[in-house]
């Protein structure tokens, strides 16, 4: 909370962004405390990692200092205060924290908790619900990510302007940093793959793995320069990879439809329904992972490849 206030008061946007990253990390810790390991994982990777990098690279393109406020803040404070008071009043009727009789825990959740191990055959219920029971939603969300990535690319160009960053950053001279990053990157990529394919059993899954994999490349780009990163992963491939990810996800659905089952019913994939579920979840998570990875990375390329225009 204090961090949030500090972030609002500060006029140096650079500091604001860093504080926002700290705030995300604290949120992740809170999620961990509330038994939401998968969510904490995602928040730590996305909020504290990727969002900060993206905000910073767009600050590079705009400017660092905020103009002093010109409005009188009292009116907006009044609006906020009244809304906040109404919301606090509403919470007085809300179920207490950890109350087992709360309406949230009464509907479909007990079914998921009791049946998921038998029906989908994987211990991580979050992954089971994500990829199997609510596969339609996840497909929709993957498409949203894909569309958002395309929107960024349309707004900023595909990052193939030819003339990339000319100014060499001070980071090029940092020998220690380079060695450390060289050691870290394989570990990051390996860890991302572990998260991707072990998501059925422990915390993790396609969303987190995609983000972590992209983080590895972003780190490489920042330390070794944009040309080197693009030699490894050309910007032109990324939209195609993203489309491939969506295609894998949708293809699984269409395949199960062709096999005479409803869209995204994974039991069509194999004679044994539980085995089919397993295979389906694995493929779908792979599709999600590929899409998220390539979209995050191409957004970063688009933002960092653009030169500052005064």
């Amino acid at each position: 909370m204090l961090i949030a206030i500090a972030a609002i008061r500060m006029r140096d946007l650079f500091g604001v962004v860093i504080l926002f990253g700290v705030y995300s990390l604290l949120t992740a810790v809170l999620f961990m405390d509330l038994d939401a390991v998968d969510v904490a994982f995602t928040e730590a990777a996305v909020g504290a990692g990727v969002t900060t990098v993206l905000l910073l690279s767009s600050l590079r393109l705009t400017r660092r200092w905020e103009a002093p406020p010109r409005h009188n803040p009292f009116f907006s404070l009044l609006v906020v205060g009244v809304t906040g008071a109404a919301l606090v009043y509403a919470t007085l009727d809300a179920p207490l924290l950890g109350d087992p009789s709360a309406p949230v825990h009464k509907h479909v959740a007990p079914h998921y908790l009791q049946e998921a191990a038998g029906e989908v055959g994987m211990p991580n219920i979050v992954t089971a619900v994500l990829a199997s029971y609510r596969g339609y939603d996840t497909f929709g969300e993957t498409l949203v990510v894909f569309t958002a990535g395309l929107a960024v690319l349309l707004l900023l160009g595909f990052g193939e302007s030819g003339e990339s960053r000319i100014e060499t950053s001070a980071i090029h001279d940092q020998v220690v940093l380079k060695v450390v990053v060289k050691l870290l990157i394989p570990l990051i990529l390996l860890y991302a793959l572990y998260v991707q394919f072990h998501g059925d059993f422990g915390a993790g899954g396609g969303f987190q793995a995609g983000v972590i994999f992209a983080t590895g490349f972003i780190l490489y780009d920042m330390v070794f320069g944009v040309e080197n990163a693009r030699a490894v992963m050309p910007a032109a491939w990324l939209p195609r990879l993203a489309a491939l990810g969506v295609l894998i996800y949708g293809g699984v659905g269409v395949y199960s439809m062709l096999a005479g089952k409803p869209f995204l019913d994974y039991s069509a994939l194999s004679a044994d329904p539980v085995h089919g579920q397993h295979l389906g979840v694995l493929l779908v998570e792979l599709g999600v992972g590929i899409t998220v990875f390539s979209i995050v990375l191409s957004i970063f390329y688009a933002l960092s490849g653009r030169r500052r225009q005064s």
């Binding site: 946007l13 939401a36 969510v39 996305v46 905020e66 103009a67 950890g98 211990p123 990510v145 933002l303």
Partner: protein, 134 residues
């Protein structure tokens, strides 16, 4: 006392939500507005996860000897929401970058003033053309 502890999380959520809301409506800088939206978004995440928590529960990964798990459904919703959130934030940032290229500023007031000035000149030009055609 029990009630206060049980509702404290909701109050944190309300506070953070209002903080984000305040930034969005009162600050003029577009980048800061996006950070405010992020604050608001994170408060909603905390709200959902709070609702999914169960006293004495464990993380929803089936292990032997554990019978109470927290509710996995809010976790799934928020997990995807976080990733979608970063994608939409990126769209916002891209728009800001384009706005900065077009106007040379990311302050709402300045952009507004530039827009008004632009409209005025265009109106004058239009009036001048009408006169010349007559």
């Amino acid at each position: 006392m029990n009630e206060i502890a049980g509702l404290f999380n909701y109050w944190v959520v309300v506070f953070l939500m209002m903080a984000g809301f305040y930034v969005v409506i009162s600050q003029g800088n577009l980048v800061k507005k996006l950070v405010g939206l992020g604050l608001f978004q994170a408060s909603v995440f905390i709200l959902y996860i709070t609702m999914g928590n169960l006293s004495g529960g464990r993380a929803p990964i089936v292990t032997e000897g554990v019978f109470i798990y927290s509710n996995p459904l809010p976790h799934v919703l928020i997990l995807t929401a976080i990733v979608v959130g970063v994608a939409t934030t990126a769209v916002g940032l891209a728009l800001i970058v384009r706005i900065h290229e077009a106007y040379g500023s990311v302050e709402e007031d300045e952009i507004h003033a530039l827009d008004m000035a632009d409209d005025d000149t265009r109106l004058q030009e239009g009036a001048g053309q009408e006169e010349s055609s007559e």
